[in-house]
């Protein structure tokens, strides 16, 4: 299964993630 998020955000939004990285519920995706 897959969860896909598509969203609008200000240009200075940055992901704290890289492809291939594991993530768990509750951990941060990115920051503004």
């Amino acid at each position: 299964s897959t969860v896909v998020l598509i969203f609008e955000a200000p240009r200075h939004f940055s992901f704290q993630l890289q492809a291939g990285q594991r993530i768990r519920f509750g951990e941060a995706l990115g920051s503004l």
Binding site: S1, V3, L5, I6, E8, A9, F15, A19, I23, G26
Partner: protein, 331 residues
């Protein structure tokens, strides 16, 4: 074969032929991956090898019993609790890296999904899993993995005029305010689908793809405070969405059964899509009792819409960061 006498045909050794053909194919694949590694070492970019039409067609048409078995959702998920598995259950949990202490209601006496008691960061992931892709959406062809794309419009479906959400009411949340007037960035063609989604000056469209492997916790949560105005269900196939398949089949996510929830958050458009896969094609959204996925009565290629917003541009389902949103079920 057509011209040989019947006696000569008996001398054929199908097993040997299969072994030779299979061995040759494996050898060829090894050589290909070796060649790609060598090119990558030299700094040259290797174009991903995509599945052809017939290969995609083969995966879209699983052997006859499979789709019918998966449509029997309740039959595939009997009410089995940990106690039914006896002492082997704890070993299974250990091998699956399942952290029972994260459950809100241990010990696990029910087969239902348990709530998680994990602490929340300010901006949170909706699920456990592995990141396949994340970053800004530059045009209408979005990357599902590096170099392999899917069409944003095919994935989300045609845009509908959605009433925008009112200010949110999550405790401690910053609220959801209606986006301002639309103004497409200069670099993009004015009518592009991407620009229909971006509602404010200075904003970008971003995407994040999280793959839930077998054994991962198959619930998903609200990643932020937002309001769901619309649900769109796309009946579809149940192909695997593993990273290997995503690298091989272009538009993989657009083929599969999926539920798109869209609405607004503090900064404008927000959507969360649950994409089903082999044997987990039954998608449940807790606040949507009318949703019935993976059912033979649905026709592939169509979609079913439901609006949660009321009249006069108000309404919708308000979700807070970390709220339990839905789950992938067997079948």
């Amino acid at each position: 074969v057509h011209t040989a006498p019947a006696r000569a045909l008996l001398l054929l050794r199908p097993l040997r032929i299969l072994l030779v053909a299979g061995g040759s194919y494996l050898g060829y694949r090894q050589y290909e991956s070796y060649r790609e590694r060598q090119l990558e070492k030299r700094g040259l970019e290797v174009a991903p090898r995509l599945a052809g039409h017939w290969e995609v067609g083969a995966f879209l048409s699983p052997p006859p019993p499979t789709p019918h078995v998966t449509e029997l959702g309740p039959a595939a998920s009997p009410d089995s609790t940990l106690t039914h598995f006896g002492p082997g259950a704890k070993r299974g949990l250990f091998l699956g890296s399942c952290m029972v202490y994260e459950s809100e209601s241990a010990p696990l006496g029910s087969a239902d999904f348990q709530g998680l008691a994990a602490p929340l960061c300010p901006e949170v992931s909706p699920a456990d899993g592995r990141i396949l892709s994340c970053g800004p959406v530059r045009d209408c062809e979005v990357e599902q993995v590096k170099g392999v794309t899917y069409s944003l419009e095919s994935f989300l479906g045609p845009r509908t005029a959605q009433p925008l959400a009112p200010a949110g009411g999550c405790p401690g949340g910053r609220g959801v305010s209606p986006p301002g007037l639309s103004a497409p960035p200069a670099a993009e063609p004015a009518g592009s689908f991407r620009n229909q989604l971006v509602t404010r000056d200075g904003n970008e469209l971003y995407q994040c793809v999280i793959y839930l492997a077998p054994g991962d916790y198959h619930c998903f949560h609200s990643p932020t405070d937002w309001t769901v105005a619309h649900r769109r269900h796309f009946p579809g196939s149940l192909m695997s969405v593993s990273p290997g398949m995503a690298r091989w089949i272009k538009e993989l996510f657009c083929h599969n059964e999926r539920v798109v929830l869209s609405g607004a958050w503090q900064h404008g458009f927000f959507s969360l899509t649950a994409v089903g896969a082999t044997n987990v094609g039954s998608i449940r959204i807790y606040f949507d009792r009318d949703l019935h996925t993976n059912s033979p009565r649905h026709c592939q290629g169509s979609y079913n819409d439901l609006s949660f917003a009321g009249g006069a541009g108000r309404g919708g389902v308000t979700l807070c960061k970390g709220d339990h949103l839905g789950e992938f079920d067997l079948g």
